[in-house]
Amino acid sequence: MKTNTLISLNKIAKVYRGQNVETYALKDISLNINQGDYICISGPSGCGKSTLLSLLGLLDSPTAGDYFIKEVDTKTLDMDQQAELRNLHIGFIFQSFNLIDELSVFDNVALPLTYREPAMSPNEIELAVKQALDEVEMGHRAQHKPNQLSGGQQQRIAIARALAGKPSILLVDEPTGNLDSKNGDAVMDLLDELNKKGTTICMVTHDLRYAGRAKTQLKLLDGEIVSYSEARQAPSSDTAEQVLESAEVM
C-alpha cells in the first residue's frame, strides 16, 4: 500500500443469499483510493454501485475480501468501532440530502461533531461548523431550518455537514439526483473546488454530464470492475462519452 493510500479494497465480494438464490452484488473488487483522488463510479442499474459505496462507507460488511481504511482492517472492527471510524474519516452526501428538519442548519452541520470521541468543546464545534458553512457559502443561513431552503441550498448544507469533521474521504451518492441542472452544476462545481483543495471524493452518478468531472472513472458491470481509467481533463467541446472512451481496464 502506498503511504498516501486512504482506502484499500482487496478481492472484495458481496453476496446476498435468499431462500433459493444467491446474488453476487460484487465480485472480486480490488481498488486503492489515494489521498486527493476524485473517483466516479458508474455503471448500469444493478451493477453494484450503491453496494460498493455502502461497503466503502462501512454501512455494510463484505462477504469476502479485505477492506482497509487508513491501514485499519475493518474486519476486526465491531459496530461501535465502525461508527467511530465512520465519524472520523468518512463524510456522506446523499441524493435526498437527509437533513433533520427539526434542527437548524447550524445544528445539522454540528451533529456528527457531537458524536466525536474524545468530545469536542463547544468552541471547537462552533469553529468547525462555521468553517464548513463558509466553505459552501451558506454561513448566512446558519439559523434557518432545512425546509426553509431550496434543494440546492440543502445539498450545500449536506456537503457542509460532511466536511465539518474534516473527513479523509467524501462518499457522494447521486448528489445531483434531486436537483435541477443549474443547482446540479453549482453542487458539482463545489465538489470540484473541494477536490482541488485536496479533499478525496468517491462519487456515484448516472449523470454523464457530471461523471466526466472526476479524475478517475470506475465502471462496474454485474458486480465487477470493467474499466478503471484516469480521465483526461475534458475540453469543453468533448462529451463525457468521448472522455470515457480513453479508459483502460485496470
Binding site: 459505496l53 455502502s54 454501512l59 455494510d60 459496530m79 461508527a83 441524493q95 427539526e102 445544528d107
Partner: protein
Amino acid sequence: MKLTKTRAQLSLAWASLMNAPGFVTAVIATLALTLATLFVVLSLVNSYFLKPLDVYDESRMVVVEQSLTYDDYDATGFQSYQSMVHWLKHNQSFEQSMMINAGEQIFANLDGEPKEPVLYVGGNYFELLNTPFLMGQGFDLGETLETPDDRVVISANFWRKHYNSDPNIIGKTLSVMAGETDYVHRIVGVVDDSFSPPYMFKASDVEVWFPSSADRRFFHNDDWQSPWTNTFKNLKLIAVLKPGVTIDQVKVDLKQQIDTVKSEWLNNGGITDVKPEVTPYRDVELGNNDDLSLMMLAGAVGLLIIAVLNVSTLFFSRALAQHKTLALQAVLGAKRSTLFKSIFLQSLILMTLSVSIALFLSVWGIRLFKVLAEGRLPLVNSLAVDSTLVIVAIILCIALAYIFSVITARLVNYKTLNTQMQNSGKGGVSQVSGRTVRILIGSQMFVAALLVSFSVMVVSKAMGTINRPLGSDTENLYFANLFQPNNQMSLAERYEHMLQYKQVLLDSQGIDDVALGHSPVSQRQNANTLTDVNGKSSIFFPSQWVGPDYFALVNTKILAGRTFTEQAIRGETNEILVSVSVAENLLPGQDYRNIIGKSYQGLEEKMYEVVGVTEDFNHPKYYDESFGRHIWWPATPYSYMFTIKASEGVKLTNKQILNTLKEKNSDLTMWQFNDLQQEYDNLLYMSRLTVVLCSTLALFTLLLAAIGIFGVLSYNLGLRRYEFGIRMALGAKKARLFKLMSVEAIIPVLIGFAVALAVVMIGFYMLQGQLMSWLILDVRLQLLAWSITLCIALFACFRPLVLLLKAKPMAALRND
C-alpha cells in the same frame, strides 16, 4: 465536553418531540392522569402501612373490648360499662388507660336545639391522641368517674357555628337536654380543625367531647341501673402497655381481674363467661381498610399497566417514524449507546412532564379523595403529597423512561439502520413488518374493548341504582322526629297529642300535607324477621314505621288490601303491611294477595295481621341485599314521626318546624330532621359519581385506542405510498386498493375485539357472584358501547387509507 454532547442530544430530543404534538399530548395525558390516580392511592397506602399514627406511642397502644358468652351464643365487640370500668381500675398491665364511648346529645341552649354526635372520653384522651388545641385545654389526666364532671371540650367548627367564634368561649356553657333539668357543662377547650377523631368510632363529625362520667347511660343515673347485658359497640378501653408487656400477658391479666367479680356477671342475663379482647390500636383503627387500600393499589397499578401498554404502542409508532432520523445518526457515527441515549432523553422528557403534571393533579386528587372519603375511610386527613410520594414519583419517572426507551430501542435494528440510508430516496419500499402492525392494532383494540366493557358494566350498575324506582316520592318531602323528654303519657294520650301536632303543622304556611311515618331514605335501616304460625322464621326484612296516611302522601302504591287503622296506630291492634317481594318470599309460588289476613309473629313477639300489600320499596343502599322486600309497622307514637310535604318552592328547616310545634308544647325537642330529597341524593351520590368517572374513563380509553390505531396505520401506510403509487400506475382502482388494505387493518381490529369480548363474558360469568355489587351486564348498553367502540376503531383504520388514496399516482411514486 460530555455536556455539549448531552445538550446537543437534548436539543435534538426536544425539537423532535415538538414536531410530534399529537404523540406528546397522548403520552402525557395518558400517563399524567393514570399516575395521578396511582399517587392518590399510594398516599393512602403510605398512611396505612408506612406512616406512623399521630398518637402517643403506637407500638404500645392497644384497644380493649370484651367477648360475652351466653348459653347459646357468643357476642364479641359489644362492651358493658361494668367490664370496662373494672379493667380501668384493676389491671397490672397498663401504664395509662382511658374509656371512650360515642353517643348523641341535644343541646338545649343552642339555637334550634341541635342534636349532635358526641364522645365520652377519659382525661388522657387528648394526650394519647396528640390533640391540638386552639384554645384552652382538655380534661385532667386519669378518670374521675366517682363524681359528675361538668366540663366539655368543643371543636373549632362547633365554636364558630354555635358561638360565633366568641373569643371568650372558655368558661361559657353548653346545656345537654335531660328531661326536667338540663345538664350544664363548662367549655374548657376548643380543639383545632386539624384534629381527626379516631375512625374506629366512625366519629369524623364529632365536635363535642364530654368526660366519661357525663355519660348518664351508666354513670350518675339514679333512675336506672344498666345491666351487664346492656352493651355498647363503641365503648372501648384504650391503653398504653407498660414497657415489655405483651398482648397475651394483658389478656391473662384482664381475665384474672374480671373473674374476681364473676359473681356479678355470671348468669346475669344468661352470661356464662366474659373474656377480654385486646388488639393493637393500629389494627382496630384501620379495620379491614388496609386490605381495601391494597385492592385500590392493585387497581391503580392495573390501570398503570394498561396505560403503559397504550403508551408503548404510541412509542412503537414513534420509533417507526423516527427510524430515518436514527439511521442518519448511525451513519454520521453515533454508536448504539448514543442512539439509546437519544431515545432515552426523549422518553425522559416525556416522563418528567407526565410525572410533574401527575403530582400536581394528585394534590387536587387527594383533596377530592378527602372530601369523598371523609368518614368512610380512616386516616383520610393524613393523606398528602409528601417526600415519600415525591421519591416514588422520581423513581417511577426514571423507570418508565427506561422501559419505554428499551421498548423503542429493541424495535430499532441497528444493523439495518445503516442499510436504510442506502435507499437514499430512490423510491425504497421499506415497510414495517405486517405482523408487527397487526399485533399493534389488535392489542390496542383488545385493551380498549376490555376497558370500555368493564366501564360500561360499572356504569350499568350505577345507572341501575339511579334509575330504579324508589317506590316512594322524595321531592318536597321532609322527615321530622320529635320527642318529649320524660313523657309519662299513655299511648292513647300520645296519639291525641300527635293528632294535634299534625294539625298545627297542617295549619302552618308552606306545608301542604303531613303524615305519620319514618323517613324512607335514612342511611341506617332497621330489619326484622317474621315468624309464621308454624314457628318458621323468615329472613330479615328491612322495615319502617308509618301511619295510615303515609302511603298516599309519599305515593307508595297499595296493591292489595288497605292501610293501617287508627287502632293500629294507638296500639290497640297489631297490623302490618308488606311489599310484594315479601309476600312472594313468605308464600312462594302463590298469588301475593293470598297473604292478606295471614298472621306472623313480629315485634315484641306479638302476632301481626297482614292487612295490605304495597309495591316494592327499593332503598338504593340496600337493594342488593333486600331486592325490594320491605315491611311496614304501624307508627305508634312513642315519639312523633312526621313526613311533611312542603309547598312547591318552599324550603322547610329544623328550626322552623321545631318552633312551630313548640308553640303547642314547649317541651318538645327535635331528635331528627331530614330533607328527603337531599337524603336520597346523598344515597345516589356515589352512583352518580361512578357514572361520570367511568364514562370519562371509557371515552378516554376509546380516544387513546383511536389515536394508537390511527398512528400505527397512518405511518405504515405512509411507508407504503410508493407501493400504492406503483399499483395505481399499473391500473389498480382505488376501490380495489381500499379492499386490499382494509382487510389487513380490519382483521386485527376484529380479532382484538372478539378476544376482549370473550374475556369479558367469561370473566363476568365466572366472577359474577363476587362482583355483583360493583357491576352488571346490561345487554343493550353493552351492545351500544361495543358498536361505538368498533365504529371508532374502524374509522381510525379507514381514515389514513382514505387520505392515502386521495393522492394522485405520480405524487405517490415521487413520494411527495
